[in-house]
């Protein structure tokens, strides 16, 4: 995962510094805590992240009183790629950050408006005697408001839409589509086969599709027969555990 973030670090008595740092780190779900902790433990000794502009992972650097880039790199396992002095070009970064916000706003708007439209067919009732439509409409309208606010706050992203934000890793984009096809067809083959043919064929199909599809996306693809062994072994395992062990009533073989 690649993260970019704008850092504003400040030491007492020192001038404010800004920098654009590339952070590359494992998908360790670290993004989850970063912002959670930020408001609680941030203090003027720590480096501060510009509110609203940071995204992705900032993290352990919080706990270092003096905030040198080395320490950030060390604790977060990040590599600082670039260091842009104050007033440097941050627009690029900001635009892409705003853009996800803007698009989420659009998504919320769509859900909110269609939610209102669908719920408007339900009887609304009064506040004292709410009909089935009252609460859904209230929620949908709130959602519409949130979506509008997100779009308005990030309206600058709209102007930048036509302009390219520079490098877009093309390979990752196609990898995403391929991953989607692999996973969906694996799940799909299970859903299509389970009813008519039973657990064993559905499970074998699901595993075979997932293994040979997934193999094409991975650096270490292993040996070709691994998938067959895996499919047979795991199918036997799940039939034993789920059908005979736990006793889930499911047909195993086609009738």
């Amino acid at each position: 995962m690649l993260f970019k973030l704008v850092l504003v670090y400040r030491k007492i008595g020192a001038e404010e510094k800004r920098g654009l740092v590339d952070l590359r780190l494992r998908a360790c779900a670290a993004s989850l805590w970063a912002e959670c902790v930020l408001p609680l433990v941030a203090n003027p000794h720590c480096c501060r992240f510009e509110a609203g502009k940071h995204e992705g992972v900032v993290g352990l650097s919080l706990f270092h009183d003096s905030c040198s880039r080395n320490q950030i790199a060390y604790t977060c396992r990040v590599t600082a790629k670039q260091h842009v002095p104050a007033g440097g070009s941050m627009d690029n970064q900001q635009a892409s950050g705003d853009r996800t916000e803007f698009l989420s706003g659009i998504l919320f708007l769509i859900i909110g408006i269609s939610g209102t439209a669908i719920a408007s067919k339900y009887p609304i009732g009064t506040a004292a005697r709410m009909g089935p439509g009252y609460f859904p409409i209230a929620i949908s309208l709130l959602l519409t408001a949130v979506g509008t606010a997100l779009c308005l706050v990030n309206r600058r992203a709209f102007k930048l839409f036509g302009t390219s934000t520079g490098h877009k890793p093309h390979g990752r984009q196609t990898a995403l589509w391929r991953a989607l096809v692999v996973v969906m067809s694996s799940i799909g083959s299970f859903a299509l086969l389970i009813e008519r043919f039973g657990l064993a064929p559905a499970s074998i199909a699901c595993l075979v599709v997932a293994f040979y599809g997934g193999r094409t996306l991975m650096s270490e693809s292993g040996r070709w027969w691994e998938g067959i062994v895996l499919a047979l072994g795991l199918t036997a395992f799940s039939v034993l555990i789920f059908v005979y062990g736990i006793g889930i009533p499911m047909r195993v073989w086609p009738r």
């Binding site: 352990l60 396992r77 989420s104 005697r129 009909g131 996973v183 997934g214």
Partner: protein, 500 residues
């Protein structure tokens, strides 16, 4: 006091059956396994295991899921120390000093310390749960619908504030969750809402399908795109010197106690959780240390504190979940989902109508921690070897277990399709950097919030002032407002500074 003993006795009766012990053991083992594997987090794992509990009794199911949860926290630390790969978000902080200790040849001590610290944190948290839950539940029973609605609003606002990304996004995700929660038959009027003519949706969307799609499938997709998470790493690991020196113990004793306190407090708050607890604990340890420069170089307090803290938080987060019926985070929402699968309505009545469920769970925490103590130390070598399972093998297995799990609920292939659908939605959210956890909270609370609002307004004849007139309700609403202001104040301050 005698009350407490009687309660604990009920718990011991419920938790010391063969099945309960078996599922507790299975839960912590599976949890450790999941925590060690980097490709799959506790949230996705619990979503995948949720359907299994349908076939267990409620108490066994709950004990099992809880075991998976804190077992995963345990396992995550092991890989954090030895390989600097945090298995869960909560153990990310363990990497800092734990890995340094391992490099200095003190891996054994670090591992033993995490186990001991988790054990201490867990044990103290059990006492806290046992002491605080009954009064909280008694208080909760006296709350009317208006208070409940306000409490839910408070929980949701906190979750939105604590969520990753901007406040507006968090709020939006919660509202989407609330809306999705309304899918299905409206209880009062018997009207179908948002079902799009799909009969499988008449009973509402199943939390299993939703969570599996949003967390399970989306996680699998991300791992696939990044080329698979697993990779073979070899480590030398000797079993000698498992016992930490007296100096180590003395150094970490206070850290453990402080961590437990922090974790217990943060676990109860909605929106916080083990990950946050371990980070705050680390920050505190560093602050109180006489020589802060040791941190990052293998300070033993740097693992003892956070580890005790995250385990305590994982357990105390059950307090609001079970006494109020308000889940603090997505994992707790799934636990509530497991209760609902069994037809148990979450809320303060759970403690009265199912005392064996509550106290059995509390006692099982303690049993589970003993299991982990026994399980983790001698078997660390085996856990480490699990890391060499390549992701190409793991991926088909994860997909298959998800399919079987969700299909087994109603034996309806449409449910499998719903998982796939929400997998795509989850991917969109991921691309838009919207966190899906608040959505699950909204989903669980949506129908309840509607019901309580309805009842409150029915009683007040449609007068919305009922939410402000009642002091408890007003307190919750004011607290929500305060948290929201606190969250946006840096934004406004920043704007101000820019204008100047």
């Amino acid at each position: 006091m005698s009350d407490l003993l009687a309660h604990l006795q009920t718990g011991f009766h419920a938790a010391f059956t063969w099945q309960a012990l078996l599922y507790c053991f299975a839960g912590v083992t599976l949890g450790t396994f999941i925590g060690v594997l980097p490709g799959i987090g506790p949230l996705a794992a619990i979503a995948m295991l949720l359907p299994l509990t349908y076939y267990l009794s409620p108490i066994d199911g709950l004990i099992f899921l809880a075991g998976v949860y804190y077992g995963a926290l345990y396992g995550g630390s092991t890989t954090a120390i030895l390989l600097r790969l945090p298995g869960t978000a909560a153990s990310a902080v363990i990497c800092i000093d734990g890995y340094q200790m391992a490099r200095a040849g003190r891996a054994n001590v670090a591992l033993v310390m995490t186990t001991v610290a988790s054990f201490v944190g867990g044990c103290v948290a059990v006492v806290i749960i046992a002491a605080f839950s009954p009064p909280l539940a008694r208080f909760a029973i006296s709350m009317g619908p208006a208070e409940y609605a306000s409490l839910m609003v408070f929980g949701l606002v906190t979750a939105a504030v604590m969520s990753q990304g901007s406040l507006l996004k968090g709020a939006g995700m919660i509202l989407v969750g609330l809306l999705i929660g309304l899918v299905g038959m409206d209880v009062n009027a018997g009207m179908l809402r948002y079902t799009f003519g799909i009969s499988a949706l008449a009973d509402g969307l199943s939390i299993v399908a939703l969570a599996m799609g949003l967390f399970g499938v989306a996680e699998v997709l991300q791992n696939l795109v990044s080329g698979g998470a697993g990779r073979v790493l070899s480590t030398r690991f000797s079993m000698r010197d498992l016992i930490p020196s007296r100096a180590d113990l003395r150094q970490s004793r206070d850290a453990m106690l402080r961590g437990t306190g922090i974790g217990s407090a943060l676990g109860i708050l909605p929106g916080a959780g083990p990950a946050m607890a371990s980070f705050v604990s680390y920050a505190v340890e560093k602050r109180v240390a006489r020589d802060p420069s040791r941190f990052g170089e293998g300070a033993i307090e740097g693992i003892a504190g956070p580890e005790a803290s995250n385990n305590a938080a994982a357990q105390t987060s059950f307090i609001p979940t079970l006494t109020l019926g308000i889940p603090g985070d997505a994992v707790m929402a799934l636990i509530l989902g497991a209760l609902m699968i069994h037809g148990i309505t979450p809320g303060p009545n759970v403690m009265n109508s199912h005392p064996e469920l509550f106290w059995g769970l509390v006692v099982s925490f303690w049993i589970g921690n003993v299991f982990l103590l026994i399980l983790n130390l001698p078997l660390i070598g085996i856990w480490i070897r699990l890391l060499s399972i390549p992701y190409r093998m793991l991926l088909p297995a994860i997909i298959l277990f998800m399919c079987i799990g969700v299909y087994s609920l109603n034996r309806n292939p449409v449910d499998v399709g719903i998982v796939a659908f929400f997998g795509i939605i989850g991917l969109i959210f991921y691309k838009l950097k919207c966190e899906a956890a608040p959505l699950i909270l909204g989903f669980i609370l949506g129908p309840m919030l509607e019901e309580y609002t309805r009842r409150a307004l029915l009683l007040s004849r449609g007068d919305p002032m009922v939410f402000l007139d009642r002091p408890v309700s007003l307190t919750f609403l004011l607290a929500s407002l305060a948290i929201m202001l606190w969250a946006i104040s840096p934004l406004i301050a920043n704007r101000f500074r820019q204008m100047k």
